[in-house]
Symmetry: C2
Subunit: 253 residues, 2 copies
C-alpha cells in the first residue's frame, strides 16, 4: 500500500531539483530493477507487486532491501510508467566523481546532449561496446532523469558518468590525448585510425553538434561517410557507428 | 482557416483504416513538408502559416499545390504535433508495388518491426547509407503512420517500400541471393564478408527478433560483437551498424 507521502515523494523525483535534494532517483520496470539489485547502487526501497516478488525471489533474497508490496493500480499512479509494469525502486544517486580515460582506453564525452531518450540509448550503446566511462558537459541531460534510466534498459548500472565543465576538463588532460570529434565534415571514418594511446570520442548536441568551446580541443575530426540523401544521423546512431568502428579496428589490428 | 470538416479529415488520417480509405497521409513540420514538395509524392493540400509561406516562397512557387493559410493555433488542433510548427501537408500514399534487390544491391528487409519511431529511424539510416529499398512484413508498422513520417526526418520521400508476405517473397527470389540476418548468436560481423551478388539485410522484431518463418530463408547469420554488459541493441542501432559495415566493406574492398 502506497501512502500519500510515498506517492508525493516518488513523483517529486521526476524533477532534478528534488533528486538532488534527496540524492535519490526512481528506477521503473522489472528488468531495470533487477539490474539495479545486481549493481553497486544503494537501494532505498523496492515497491513491487506480489507477482514480481514471486518471480524474483532469489534476486530479492540475495540482496535484502526495504520491500513494499503494492498493486499494479498503485504503481500506475507514480513514476512515468507508459505501460503496466510490476516494479519500481528508489535508489541513491552516486557522487559526481572525477573520471578520465586510462592509457589506451577510449571514453565517451558528450557536449550538451539534451534528449533523455538519446542519453539513455547512448548508455546502452556504450555498455554494449564495453565503454564504461562517459564524461558529460554540465548542460547534458541528467543521468537520473527517469526517461534516461528507462531508455538505458539497465545499462545505467554499468556506466560511470562525470558531469563537468568540458574546457576545464580538457585543460587537465595529458598532452597527446586523442580527442576524436564527430562532425559532418571531417576525415572519413573508414580511413581513420583511432590513435592507440586512447582518449575521447566526442559527440555533440542534437541540433548544434559539438560547440565551439569543445571543438577547440578536438585533435581528430571524423565523419561517418554518407551514401544517400539524409542530412544527418541521430546522435545515438552516430555514437554506435563510431564505437563500432573503434572496436572493429582494435579487433582487426 | 481550417474548417470543421478539414480538421476531422486530417485527424482521421492518424488512423490506418482512414489512410487506406482515402489513400492519403499527413506530413507534419516545415522540414518534412519541404522534402515532400521536392519529392515525387502527389500533394493534396499544404496548410501553412504565412511565415512558412514567406520563408519558402521559391519552394512553393516551384511546385504549385493547393495552399491554405492557417495559424499556429489552428495547426495545433490537428495532427500529432508535439511542438509548434508552421506547416502540415496532406499527400497521396503510393501504391504498394513489388520491389526487390537488383544485382549487387542490398535492400533492407524488416520482419515485424512494430515501433513507429524505430521504422522512421530505419528509413533515415537507410537514406544515409544509400539503401533505397525496404521490404516489410505485413505486420511491420505502416510507413504512413505520422510518427514514422516524423521520425524519418524527410527520408520517407527517398525510400521505396513494399509490404508483403515475406516467406512468399523469398520463394520468388533467385537462388544464390544472400539473405543476411542479424541474430544475437551468429558469425562476428567483423569477420563476415557481405556476398558481392547482393541481397537482403534482415532485421527482426523489437523483442522477438527474426521470426521462424523468415529465419528459414536466412543464408548468413551475423552478430554485432559485444564487449560489455548490455543484453541487446535497439533495432535502429543494429540496422545502422550493419549498414555501416556493409558500406565500409564495399569502400575498402
Amino acid at each position: 500500500m502506497l501512502s500519500k507521502n510515498q506517492i508525493k515523494y516518488i513523483n517529486s523525483l521526476q524533477i532534478k531539483k528534488y533528486r538532488q535534494q534527496h540524492q535519490s532517483f526512481v528506477v521503473e520496470g522489472a528488468k531495470s530493477v533487477v539490474e539495479l539489485l545486481a549493481s553497486d547502487y544503494e537501494v532505498e526501497t523496492v515497491f513491487a507487486t506480489s507477482d514480481f516478488q514471486q518471480q524474483h525471489q532469489s534476486t530479492l533474497a540475495a540482496r535484502p532491501v526495504a520491500l513494499e508490496t503494492v498493486t499494479l493500480a498503485e504503481l500506475e499512479k507514480v513514476g512515468s510508467f507508459q505501460t503496466n509494469d510490476s516494479c519500481l525502486a528508489v535508489a541513491k544517486t552516486k557522487e559526481n566523481r572525477f573520471l578520465c580515460a586510462g592509457p589506451g582506453e577510449y571514453a565517451l564525452l558528450l557536449d550538451d546532449v539534451r534528449d533523455p531518450g538519446n542519453l539513455g540509448t547512448i548508455l546502452r550503446i556504450a555498455d554494449w561496446y564495453g565503454i564504461t566511462k562517459i564524461i558529460c558537459s554540465e548542460s547534458t541531460t541528467d543521468l537520473y532523469n527517469p526517461k534516461v534510466v528507462a531508455a538505458s534498459k539497465g545499462s545505467f548500472t554499468r556506466i560511470q558518468t562525470y558531469y563537468t565543465d568540458l574546457p576545464a576538463f580538457f585543460r587537465q588532460q595529458k598532452e597527446g590525448t586523442a580527442v576524436v570529434g564527430a562532425f559532418l565534415r571531417g576525415e572519413s571514418l573508414y580511413d581513420f585510425r583511432f590513435p592507440a594511446q586512447g582518449g575521447y570520442l566526442v559527440m555533440g548536441n542534437e541540433s548544434q553538434g559539438i560547440g565551439g568551446a569543445v571543438e577547440a580541443f578536438v585533435t581528430h575530426r571524423v565523419t561517418i561517410p554518407r551514401f544517400g540523401g539524409a542530412e544527418s544521423l541521430n546522435v545515438g546512431i552516430a555514437t554506435a557507428v563510431l564505437c563500432d568502428n573503434l572496436r572493429r579496428q582494435l579487433h582487426k589490428g
